[in-house]
Symmetry: C2
Subunit: 329 residues, 2 copies
Amino acid sequence: MATIEDVAKLAGLSRSTVSRVINHHPYVSEKKKQLVYAAMKQLEYYPNSSAQRLRRQKTDTIAVLVPRLTNPFFPVLIEELDLVAVEHGLQLLICQTQQNEEKELSFLNLLKTKQVDGLIFTAIENDWETIAPYKEWGPIILCNEYKSEATVPIVRLNQVKGSYLGTKHLIESGHTKIAFCGGTESELGIDRKKGFMKAMEEAGLIMSEDWFFPSSYSIDCGKDILKTLFAMKNRPTAVFTGSDEIAAGIIKEAKSLGVSIPDELAVIGFDDQPIAELMEPALTTIQQPVKDMGKKTMEVMVSMLNSDIVNDQDQIYELPIRLVKRQSV
Amino acid sequence: MATIEDVAKLAGLSRSTVSRVINHHPYVSEKKKQLVYAAMKQLEYYPNSSAQRLRRQKTDTIAVLVPRLTNPFFPVLIEELDLVAVEHGLQLLICQTQQNEEKELSFLNLLKTKQVDGLIFTAIENDWETIAPYKEWGPIILCNEYKSEATVPIVRLNQVKGSYLGTKHLIESGHTKIAFCGGTESELGIDRKKGFMKAMEEAGLIMSEDWFFPSSYSIDCGKDILKTLFAMKNRPTAVFTGSDEIAAGIIKEAKSLGVSIPDELAVIGFDDQPIAELMEPALTTIQQPVKDMGKKTMEVMVSMLNSDIVNDQDQIYELPIRLVKRQSV
DNA sequence: GTGAAAGCGCTAACAC
DNA sequence: GTGTTAGCGCTTTCAC
């Protein structure tokens, strides 16, 4: 493997000059530049990235922590993050936490070992208290999920508003008995429940704890919920869900059991994934501007990377969220 | 940022000893080991990964080239690749080619610049001729998509068999007029068409070029195909597709137009993604053992990384493929 | 068991 | 414009 030294020798020049050519510095005569290019080509020379990183003290790589890639929400987000990153000469290191606290922590160490220059959370497993000290090692941003105690920039949606809109739509469609499915572990989940409660209370409705499914997220969860619901004597006529997957599972199982959607049960999803439109009936859902979140997040990251002051800003960027009406309500 | 030198000084030892402790070498006295640990802790020392990589001449990182993360086939594959990689202390660098030849080429340069130790293709944009020279820079494996000229290990399915099984099932269900949708640019696509043709010929059927949709892949493609088909006077009664997405699009559009599936049109998908089971009617499809492919691929990569002989083997690992019967046929 | 020293491949003052 | 030189932080012979 050829090194910069080999190129310098073959070109009859110094390493500095070769380095200058590689890095497109001005003040290199055209003649020598050509000499260098010729030598590089002949030797099949490519700069060693580890050496560059060591010397420059940066990696131009950003870690992106996601729970799982198989949750279709995240690939869309990553795609946009990647797009903006590439524009700025940055690379993404995708890290799947599998919702595991220790794994998340081990990825934070990428910052300490200088494997990445910055880090983006799209979901958070550990307490903020645990994460906070890592700020010292490089810029951190929260995107999508958030913690109100966090002292880093946050790019998020107004989840209270999202679920409020959905629930209100259900109420305006005449429903008074409404179930709620969605996580409440995270602050995002708690806020969604808040929005739900707000809409319920405004309408003078009360929610039944029997119709509350806190730890649901997948298609299979949705199926189970439908079964549970229809085993009850007193059951809701509508259900608010925290994801299109849950909603899809509910609808699927409803069909198997001959339950008519939305006549016997209205269902509302969250995300507006491709699946929402494909379901029969098509899913009424809360649309999240995922791409905009990705774009904004990476822009903030780039600006943090370029400013000397690391994590000086703990601004919150809140993006709009809206209801998409289809046929499941 | 503390360096190994700082730790050595504080512990009153040499850099070598600290290094030995970091790397869990034997032959370090317990006493000094504790001294080192104490110093590391006090200084919040973490080894600089770029320095280690430069010195060790390896990155323990594998590039995985995928077309797009938003195609749900790939996240499943990546998840499994990642699982096995982590077991072996390897990191994955996910690279989206966006089906772009130049992007693919630029990712191949990760090998030359020593940013990764090996590279896995899950789809291929360039000619093999273009890719072959990169073998010299590190182990390369093809997983999923393949080129028969390739001289590297290949982990794949028998795509001829897959589409043969699907088409045969259509024929056995009484269909004689069958459309074919799926890419034919790649060898994988060509093989799928081969399997289709084989089943047709065996049954003494001929395919109509009017019913051949070579460049289809998405939900929207599926919708367009259904519309095109039903604008024809002479139309097929069944359609073989190259992905569950196309099939889902066809079914969705069929419903909008009041076309009954499978009575007026039988549809068969490819992949067996979650969506296949959610569609109404549920999709009959070809199941691919995606996880097994991922596992095998990373195992082969690990063995190549550990053997001194790089890319000596150009073996083909062919995994089984099977038909899943549901309600769309 | 431990330390001294060389060097992985590169960049950036600094001098000329 | 170009070369000399001093590291970036680490691992690994080679002595002892």
